[in-house]
């Protein structure tokens, strides 16, 4: 395992300390491993919090700031945070208008957020939760834990954060978050495994001529293991199932998001974007907005994911609204 770390036990704490040192204008770190917007709580504003296992940076801590998250909870690597964190975050950002929990659909995240919501409720804070579950690699059936929350979460946090910043109330931002979920679909693939620091070795073995299609952001095995293919073929293997899911159709305008999983350089992501634009054009779908880069990663995994969000004027407006966080910034 080759990593820039000091000790496998202190990875998350030290990374958060680094964030605090790098972005004192944006955020502060509170115990236990909660990244809080510098000026939280803001009276009368709905608080937006999210969180999950670490190892997906910049998600979620890099999205704390104006127009996006009020706080993020950083769990151990690939492990849902504990309820104490979500409770601390909820209290830190509650400005009297209630708090929205944006939860990625994983068994652990769901349960820990649920417990936190029960605790917050007991303390008299109004909490709503919306579950993101946009990964079409998982069949949406009774026989699974349901679709995973992946790239769509990044877009939801930006859009919902803008609405909260604009003064919308808790019901409205929760409904907006659900609207993003209803209109966003993603799928990813890996060329290599990630290595969890505490595990010390790659999560899965994969041959030099193989790739994993439909991989999860925690190195969970995907839909199938196949022979490695060209960037164009890979793009097609990801876009196909997204479009087949039926949410996005001919005539729609989308936000096209090509994400890197941490070990893949930007030059390759643009090669994927080239083909994505070509496929969408062929299918009569317009790219209204785009995002290319490492936003929801899987430690050092090489690979990519594609996320498409069907846009309308409301979503586009919130997407374009000013945001100032460590990892996403415009108009401010």
């Amino acid at each position: 395992m080759k990593k820039l770390i000091n000790s496998t036990d202190r990875v998350v704490e030290e990374a958060l300390a680094g964030m605090a040192a790098a972005h004192p204008d944006l955020l502060r770190i509170e115990d236990p491993n909660v990244i809080v917007r510098k000026d939280a709580p803001r009276q009368g504003k709905v608080g937006i919090i999210s969180g999950g296992g670490s190892g997906h940076e910049p998600m979620h801590g890099g999205f704390v700031g104006l127009g996006m998250l009020d706080a993020a909870c950083a769990g151990a690597v690939f492990t849902s945070p504990v309820p104490d964190q979500m409770l601390a975050a909820t209290k830190a950002v509650d400005g009297g208008a209630g708090v929205l929990h944006i939860v990625k659909n994983y068994t652990g995240d769901i349960m820990n957020f649920e417990i936190a919501a029960e605790m917050a409720d007991a303390e008299g804070i109004k909490v709503k939760a919306v579950v993101m579950a946009d990964d079409v690699a998982v069949q949406d059936s009774l026989y699974t834990a349901g679709r995973r929350g992946v790239g769509g979460t990044v877009l939801a946090e930006k859009i919902v954060g803008a609405a909260a910043e604009a003064g919308k109330d808790l019901d409205t931002v929760a409904a907006l978050c659900q609207k993003v979920q209803d209109n966003v679909r993603s799928m990813g693939m890996a060329l290599t495994s990630c290595t969890v620091p505490a595990a010390g070795k790659p999560t899965f073995e994969i041959a030099d001529d193989e790739m994993e299609i439909g991989v999860g952001i925690h190195g969970e095995p995907g839909r199938r293991r196949v022979k490695i293919a060209s960037a164009d073929e890979i793009t097609d293997m990801l876009v196909g199932p997204i479009l087949d899911d039926g949410v996005i159709a001919k005539g729609d305008t989308v936000l096209a998001f090509v994400n890197g999983l941490g070990g893949t350089p930007l030059i390759e992501l643009y090669i994927i974007f080239r083909r994505l634009a070509e496929v969408l054009e062929e299918r009569g779908i317009t790219i209204g907005r785009s995002l290319v880069g490492n936003f929801i990663t899987s430690l050092d995994m090489a690979g990519t994911s594609i996320t498409l969000l069907k846009l309308d004027d409301e979503l586009t407006g919130y997407w374009d609204a000013p945001v100032h966080t460590a990892a996403m910034r415009w108009g401010a």
């Binding site: 068994t107 899965f204 095995p221």
Partner: protein, 208 residues
């Protein structure tokens, strides 16, 4: 011979030791079907538990179990944190203010813990989770509650292991392993493995 707080503390300590020893093994199981952290998670939680254990030895068994549960909830995270946390919390609640417990009390407490796990995780039988190791263990304790404690604990440990092995060929329908669909068949469920270690530790700590 009734079970005391000291016995319970010895069990928790032994379980913590064995989880530490099984850290790599459980993580390897989770690499195959999940996200390679189950051993790390359990070890982190029980290391934290170990630190608060001394302060709990003097109190009631129910209080000890509840504190263990709360510590797990606030240190493990993931799926196993709320589940094992709830198990110990409900286990402790079931004991009430009793200063000691019988084999029958133990069976009742384990059943209460299991019910908590099911309520929290909503797993059905054969979803291929820790529930499938915990359920036969709880049943073994119940059906042996009248007889010798050593025998009951031995039966529970065997039942947990048998449950773990029985579901190995199944396709997972809950937790991360469910993402794998058919590819999950043939892999040992990490949570069922750690639950088996729980009942083995219970046997070895109490079943002298």
């Amino acid at each position: 011979m009734p079970i005391t707080t000291a016995d319970l503390a010895r069990f928790v300590e032994l379980y913590a030791d064995r989880l530490h020893a099984a850290r790599e093994h459980l993580t390897a199981l989770d690499s195959a079907v999940g996200d390679a952290d189950h051993g790390i998670n359990m070890d982190r939680g029980f290391s934290a538990v170990r630190e608060v254990l001394p302060g709990l030895r003097e109190g009631l068994p129910g209080a000890l179990a509840k504190q263990v549960g709360m510590k797990l909830i606030s240190t493990v995270g993931g799926a196993s944190g709320p589940l094992y946390g709830t198990f110990f919390l409900r286990f402790g609640t079931s004991l009430g203010d009793a200063a000691e417990m019988t084999g029958a009390d133990l069976a009742t407490a384990v059943r209460a813990g299991l019910d908590g796990v099911i309520a929290r995780g909503k797993a059905d039988p054969d979803d291929k989770t820790m529930v499938d190791a915990m359920t036969p263990a709880a049943e073994a304790l119940e059906s042996n509650a009248a007889s010798d404690l050593v025998q009951a604990l031995e039966a529970a440990a065997r039942a947990a292991a048998a449950g773990r092995d029985r579901i190995t060929p199944l396709i997972a329908r809950k937790g991360r392993a469910s993402y794998l669909g058919e590819r999950s068949a043939g892999h040992v469920d990490p949570g069922a493995a750690s639950t088996t270690i729980l009942f083995e530790s219970l046997r070895d700590a109490l079943g002298r």
